[in-house]
Every structure is written in structure tokens, then in C-alpha cells.
């Protein structure tokens, strides 16, 4: 009840920032623009719409998730509302969980609005976007939920701006793990010829990045949707558990740091 109380008011605060209106409007503009792009057939129009809407949802969802999660806790500390909240019978981890849940519920509603707008447009171009699209949205939701927890973790020891930048950095590195793995392989090949300390250090650093940061390709589903291949349940289940593991790690670190935080 207490954690839900925090989540409810975090949601309320975000909604009063008119975030639903702003994101909805930008997404609507994107959908309208897609109607003016030249395509060969109505099927292509649907494909284009789906591609654009998933890209739009990822972009707007990511910005909203990182911005809301990054401001949520630091603002509470900066405005000193934390003094009254932290002296109520609520554990510190419960407070963090409530904050994260509030932001996640905002993201869920945003995705619901954007998916709904996409469906309406698909109806007017006499096409159907099908169940696969909603599975892809669900995968995106897992990804953004993970981003919320990573950002909340950052805010327990960093400022708003630094934690937002760090989260975005993790997001981009998480999409480049294939590239990083290739670089490691290349260095390994070179290392066999000249096994120097420098090569080993660079290789170890890149390997650390590639392994420590979540691989966001796990959540990628747009190719399935565009090529009209059903997203397998097993693929979704693996993505869910992959996100869950990183969420638990992020939340454990966040709780540990926040437990020892002082409010001067």
C-alpha cells in the first residue's frame, strides 16, 4: 500500500507535467508525416508506419523514461520533500521501488497511447498491424523498464544530468555490443602477433563494457514485425528474464547505495 502510494503520486506528478499530451502530439505528427511519404503499395504503407511507429515509440519512450527517472529522486532531494517522506514508516528500498513503479506506469500508458494512435492510423489506411506489433511493443516495454531501473540506480549517487547521460551511454553501448565484440576479436588477433600490455588492457576494457552492460539487441523485435515473422514466445520469455536479471542487479545496487545516503 505504501509503495503503491509513492508510485501513485509519482505518476500523478508526471501526468501534471503534461507529458502524455506532448509525447502524444509528437507521435501524432510522426504518424501524419508517414501518410505523405511515397510508397508503392498499401502493404508498404503499413510496413512504413510500423517501422516509424516503433522507432518513434523507442525514441519518445527512451527520452521520457530517462528524463522522468532521472528527475524523480534528485528533485525530491533538492526540494527537500525527502525529509518528510523519509521520516514515514517506509523502507528506503520501498521508496525507490515506488518511484520506479510510478515512472514505469507512465511509460506503460505512453506506449499504450502511441500504440493506440498507430492502430487508428492503420485502420484508416485499411490495413491491419496484427498481434505481432503488440508483442514488439511489449518487448520495448521490457527494454524501457530496464532503462528506468538503470537510471534510478544512477540517481542514488549521481546528479540528475550525470545519471541521465550515463543511462543514455549505457543504452547506446548496449546497442553496440556486436561491434564491441568484433573489436575484441580484432584486438585478440593482433594480440597473438604482438602480445603487449596495451592490447590486453584495451581488450579487457572493451570486453568489460560488452559483458557488464546489458545487450539491448535482446529486445529488438522490429525486424520480426516488418518481415511479418511471428515473434516466438520463447524469444519474449528470454527477453523478459534477461531484463529481470539486470533490473534486480540495478535495484540491489540502488537500494544499497540509498540505504547509506544522508540528507543534509
Amino acid at each position: 500500500m505504501r509503495i503503491i502510494g509513492i508510485a501513485k503520486y509519482t505518476f500523478k506528478e508526471a501526468s501534471r507535467k503534461k507529458i502524455f499530451f506532448v509525447v502524444g502530439l509528437f507521435f501524432l505528427i510522426l504518424m501524419v508525416c508517414s501518410q505523405f511519404m511515397e510508397v508503392i503499395s498499401p502493404e508498404d504503407r503499413i510496413k512504413l508506419m510500423v517501422r516509424l511507429s516503433i522507432a518513434g515509440m523507442t525514441l519518445f519512450g527512451l527520452i521520457s523514461a530517462v528524463f522522468l527517472a532521472a528527475t524523480s529522486l534528485p528533485k525530491e532531494v533538492e526540494n527537500k520533500q525527502i525529509y518528510t517522506t523519509m521520516t514515514k514508516p517506509l523502507s528506503r528500498w520501498g521508496f525507490l521501488l515506488g518511484k520506479a513503479m510510478g515512472v514505469i506506469s507512465v511509460i506503460a500508458l505512453l506506449l499504450f497511447i502511441m500504440a493506440g494512435l498507430c492502430m487508428i492510423f492503420a485502420y484508416f489506411v485499411e490495413g491491419s498491424i496484427g498481434l505481432n506489433f503488440f508483442k514488439a511493443v511489449m518487448m520495448l516495454f521490457f527494454k524501457l523498464t530496464l532503462m528506468v531501473f538503470i537510471t534510478v540506480m544512477g540517481t542514488t549517487f549521481l546528479s540528475f544530468s550525470v545519471s541521465a547521460i550515463l543511462s543514455l551511454f549505457i543504452f547506446f553501448v548496449g546497442h553496440m555490443t556486436e561491434l564491441l565484440e568484433d573489436i575484441v576479436k580484432l584486438i585478440a588477433l593482433r594480440g597473438e602477433e604482438i602480445p603487449g600490455l596495451w592490447e590486453r588492457m584495451v581488450r579487457a576494457s572493451i570486453e568489460l563494457f560488452a559483458r557488464a552492460f546489458p545487450d539491448f539487441r535482446v529486445f529488438s523485435a522490429s525486424d520480426f514485425v516488418i518481415n511479418q515473422i511471428a515473434i516466438p514466445f520463447l524469444y519474449m520469455r528470454n527477453a523478459f528474464f534477461y531484463a529481470l536479471i539486470y533490473i534486480l542487479i540495478s535495484f540491489a545496487i540502488a537500494s544499497l547505495v540509498f540505504k547509506h545516503r544522508q540528507f543534509t
Binding site: M1, R2, G5, I6, K8, Y9, K12, E13, R16, N79, K80, Q81, Y83, T84, T85, M86, T87, K88, P89, L90, S91, H260, Q262, F263, T264
Partner: protein, 283 residues
């Protein structure tokens, strides 16, 4: 009365710089015992360590040295918060909520059922005189109104122990009086209050005992009456004596001792102000 609500043992707080080197010793070996049912005042100029002491007792800060117990549990124990109310030095609340919503929010954090929350919120809004502004966003509140809603949230759980940090700051004399009456009523119900203030009149009016802090050190502690009584002077109060009677009293007293002062007692400025406003309201 003998039961202890708050006990500190050499409570010390040293703020450190980025490199971990001591920067300021905000509180130095504070030893306090506050009994249940009393109103205890922490007095001191700005920067004397009052707020640091309160934050340490509430678990918002961790001591560098020493320890403290609040309602029998170590300071900062989450379960103890159920029985504690806290009004911070400045009222910072969610600006987008109104009075009803903020009390509902804090009531929920105490796990109070909805029906009871609504009833309690209504009572507190009336008690703190915010009935006319209960639908207004807190961002539009004046400082005095923000203090009132701050007090209301501190009382939402009907606490056993309440921490009030500068409760009357930014309030007009009527508001100050109302807050003091609430604190006195709180005492009548057997509750404990720790009041921090640099406004001496507030502390004098309501506190049973006080501690004076200066630069983080406890420099004086005791019952208010004991500390303020000038023991070698006695004051008589006589209602409208005749000139002759007064002259005879003076003669007798002068024979035995030195008469320091004979004058008419004066009202305090607060009493005068409250009476004048009351009269004006009547007319």
C-alpha cells in the same frame, strides 16, 4: 513522566569534505534525556546544531560518533516512524497537490485506511485553519499556510512524539498562538514534543525544559522556570493599592532590604496584539 522518549549518548556529527577530512563539527558529544509527555525546547542561534541534532534523531543523518535512541529503538528505525511526526525547518511539499491530497498521501504512507484518512485529513485541515484553501495547490500557499499544512501532515498519524523545527517561522502572531495551543494540547494528551527554535518567546511559552546549544555544544539545560527565575529577588503583585498603603509598604521593605523596582506589570506584545485583534473582530 519518567519514561524516556529520547536519549542521546555523546552524539557527534562532523561534516567532512570531498577528501574525507573534517570540515565542520556541527554537533559535539550531545547528551540528552527527554521524558515522555514533556515539551522539550532546543534553543540556539543559527548554525548551533539544532537541526543537525533533529536529523540525527530521525535517521536522516548518521552520527560520526555516539548514538541515540528514540522511543526505545535506535534512531532511524523505520518501525519507530509509525509513532513519530516531523515538521521540518521549511515546508517543502509536492507543489502540484492540494491540502487534501497531500494529507491523503502522507496518511497512505502510514498505512491508514482510506475512510480514516479522509476523516483525519478533514479534522486536521479544520484544526490548522486551512478549510478555505483545501482545494488550492500547495504551490500557491503563503509561507504561513505552508507551515500549517506542514503541521497537519506531522499530526496525521496521531504521533506519540513530534519533532517541530522552527514551527512558527513565517507565521503571524495569531498563527503562532494557534500552533502553541496545539503543542500544549498535545502535552495534555500525554504526548512528547521536541521543539527547535531560535524564537525565545515560543520556547518560553510552551516548554517544560530547554537545552541551549552553541557551536554544536550543549551549554545549558534545565527546567524553564528554574533557568528564568531570579532567585535573589522577590516580586509582589498588589491590586490597586492606595498611595498611603504603598508608602507604608515601601518604608517597611526599605528597613529590611533594598527595593529594586516598583512599577506596573506590562502585557507582552503578543498578548496586546491578540487582544486588539479579538476586539476588532468583535466590533
Amino acid at each position: 513522566m519518567n519514561e524516556i522518549a529520547i536519549k542521546t549518548n555523546n552524539l557527534t556529527k562532523v561534516y567532512k569534505n570531498f577528501w574525507g577530512r573534517p570540515r565542520v563539527r556541527a554537533l559535539n558529544r550531545l547528551n540528552l534525556e527527554i521524558h515522555r509527555g514533556e515539551i522539550f525546547g532546543l534553543l540556539g542561534p543559527n548554525g548551533s546544531g539544532k537541526t543537525t541534532a533533529v536529523k540525527l534523531l530521525l535517521g536522516l543523518l548518521f552520527p560520526t560518533y555516539g548514538n541515540s535512541r528514540v522511543l526505545g529503538a535506535p534512531a532511524g528505525d523505520v518501525r519507530t516512524y509509525q509513532k513519530i511526526g516531523f515538521l521540518p525547518e521549511e515546508s517543502y511539499f509536492y507543489r502540484f497537490l492540494n491540502a487534501e491530497e497531500i494529507l491523503d498521501f502522507y496518511g497512505r504512507l502510514f498505512g491508514i485506511p482510506k475512510k480514516e484518512r479522509l476523516k483525519k485529513s478533514e479534522e486536521l485541515i479544520n484544526l490548522t485553519g486551512l478549510a478555505d484553501a483545501k482545494k488550492r495547490r500547495l504551490g500557491e500557499y503563503s509561507k504561513g499556510m505552508a507551515r500549517r499544512i506542514g503541521l497537519a501532515q506531522a499530526l496525521i498519524n496521531d504521533p506519540e512524539l513530534i519533532f517541530l523545527d522552527e514551527p512558527t517561522s513565517g507565521m503571524d502572531p495569531i498563527g503562532c498562538r494557534e500552533i502553541k495551543d496545539i503543542v500544549l494540547d498535545f502535552k495534555r494528551r500525554g504526548k512528547t514534543t521536541l521543539l527547535c527554535s531560535h524564537l525565545l518567546a515560543d520556547v518560553e511559552d510552551v516548554c517544560d525544559r530547554v537545552a541551549i546549544l552553541h557551536k554544536g555544544n550543549l551549554i545549558k539545560m534545565g527546567a524553564v522556570n528554574d533557568l528564568l527565575t531570579i532567585k535573589d529577588i522577590i516580586q509582589f503583585s498588589i491590586k490597586t493599592p492606595s498611595e498611603e498603603a504603598l508608602s507604608r509598604i515601601k518604608t517597611v521593605l526599605n528597613k529590611e532590604s533594598e527595593v529594586v523596582e516598583i512599577n506596573h506589570p506590562a502585557e507582552t506584545m503578543e498578548e496586546l496584539f491578540l487582544e486588539t485583534i479579538k476586539e476588532a473582530d468583535k466590533n
